[in-house]
Symmetry: C2
Subunit: 341 residues, 2 copies
């Protein structure tokens, strides 16, 4: 929680996400009530005023901040950013840039959040685009997989940078002493994998990081490492397949058990199967990685609880100095002799 009386200031994009602004504002109020954070609710003034009126926020550190419009999921982020300079996610990110907030949080378009962060906060050297990462499989909640879709064509040196970021993530967020780093491949033996993976394997082995080698996808559910690195194309497929298979399997199990158990028990089991296949939905959201500032992107389907969790993640990222620790880690990686970054 906050040190002394200083509240960590989080700008929340009230207009982004499937259940905005209602659930987002509710989540923001909940986070403020739990303490340690001043929530700046960024959105169309009427909408924000209307939603805040539904809650008793007397004495709570909740501040409205006007914006105009929203960038939608289907818009091309770079273009939308120029066309809607006052959109909620742009204003929220701009507050971090200007030093008026310590972090921003959105449940809206990931692409828009990434574009805003890249343009306004800046990306660390050697990263390319801000990376996405987090636990994907419910059976391995302490494995961060990155990138999950931001960078679909990666150079090997970029994958090494992701490894370094993941290492900081696991060490600071999960307090794992010496996180194991693995590279996702199609065979655990060195020499297996595609060109990109074979080159990355060599770089990782020489990186000074705690590289434990390559893992195959069937080892992911077993928590084979705290950090699993892959390019965003592969990571996104892993994430989406997990999600899709979990949903389909939940339905199938519910059908299969129909009549054999109480309906509420069946529902609970089907839901558990879905969650085991979808941590993204249950853990609230993660920070954009490699960005010079804290910008947390949550799931579009987030309801109040998940929004509150995402704000909590942003607070924690600020408290542990995530941004500067990542920056130092990348710098020390680049200073190693023979580094090609």
């Amino acid at each position: 929680m906050a040190k002394g009386d200083v509240l960590i200031r989080v700008a929340v994009d009230a207009m982004g996400g499937d259940y905005a602004p209602g659930e987002v504002v509710a989540g923001a109020v909940d986070a403020a009530r739990r303490g340690g954070v001043q929530v700046i609710v960024v959105g169309d003034p009427d909408a924000v005023r209307g939603e805040l009126a539904r809650h008793d926020i007397a004495g709570l550190p909740v501040v409205p901040m006007p914006s105009q419009g929203t960038i939608l999921e289907e818009e091309q982020p770079a273009i939308a950013l120029r066309q809607k300079p006052k959109a909620s996610v742009v204003v929220a990110t701009g507050m971090v840039k200007a030093g008026h907030a310590d972090a921003c949080v959105t449940m809206g378009s990931t692409g828009a959040a990434m574009a805003a962060a890249a343009v306004m906060l800046g990306v660390m050297p050697g990263i390319g685009r801000p990376a996405l990462g987090g636990p994907v499989l419910g059976m391995a909640p302490r494995t961060i997989i990155l990138d999950l879709g931001a960078n679909v064509d990666c150079r090997p040196a970029q994958l090494v940078s992701f490894a370094a970021i993941g290492e900081v993530f696991a060490r600071l967020f999960w307090e794992v002493d010496n996180p194991r780093i693995a590279l996702l491949s199609v065979g655990s033996e060195t020499g297996k994998g595609n060109r990109q993976v074979r080159e990355t394997t060599e770089l990782l082995a020489a990186s000074g990081l705690n590289f434990v080698g390559n893992v195959e996808a069937d080892d992911l559910p077993n928590g084979a490492a705290e950090v699993v690195v892959c390019d965003g194309f592969v990571g996104n497929i892993v994430m989406k397949l997990t999600e899709g298979a979990g949903a389909a399997l939940g339905r199938r199990i519910a059908e299969r058990l129909d009549g054999a158990m109480q309906q509420d028990e069946i529902d609970a089991l089907a839901q558990e199967v879905r969650s085991l296949h979808n941590v993204v939905e249950s853990h609230g959201g993660g920070p954009l990685l490699g960005v010079k500032g804290v910008s947390v992107v949550g799931h579009g389907r987030a309801k109040a609880d998940a929004v509150s969790l995402a704000i909590g993640t942003a607070v924690r990222a600020v408290e542990i100095g995530f941004t500067s620790k990542v920056s130092e880690q990348l710098l020390s990686l680049q200073e190693r002799p023979g580094s090609s970054t």
Copy 2:
């Protein structure tokens, strides 16, 4: 089944697979008993004789054929092929080459089967290495995904060839009239995906094939297309993740239901979950794709039933003229104006 009195001759590698030679020979005998096929059991003479003695094969079309040694999973296929020219998979493939068998089947090292097929039978133009493909998700048993791991660095034109092969597979094996072909990507919109996928999308759109666009991984369990094309690196990760998640989920569900249901019902459900996530194990095996001859590779863990199924697949491939149909399809693809293959 066989036309008239002519039996289709299948050379079975009796020494390959986790349960060889016992289960493999049992499966071979079973296939012979079901009719339409002459089974040539290739293996170390003593081992084959010993196993055949366990069955009543009087009057059955089962013929032993001596070989010497086996290529193991952990051996480097190209090297092993030179060092063990009389190994069971080499002899079995050689019989197809020499016209003494119509097809060969192995449960042994996939790499060895591929290497033997590539060297002895030859690969069709534009394919690179023999491709692996088949249904992967039990929820989508009529979706062939290819490549599943043989070609980990693919040119776009190669992916188009895979699409053409998959089309023939779905049309002939599953009797689907006009199979839908999709490309696995990270967004269904054109323009999304990595460089390889974006280039392949254009080629497929101009290929004359029934290309329905790009699918995301969360759509795979829904049977979004009969043919899903991806490079072998991605396909292998899809296959392994499916398998690993199914196994982990089966265990988890079994724990979760412990005491709430009869143990045998729990076991059946857990097994069903695993199978839904693992068609490879239950459907016996598939032909190497793009090879000039029928070579079927089954799962290493195959028992007699699965071996018999794999032999059935080989028989069917011969009956439907799979090899020549694929060859014609690839040729007509290459003859299209503007083809870059």
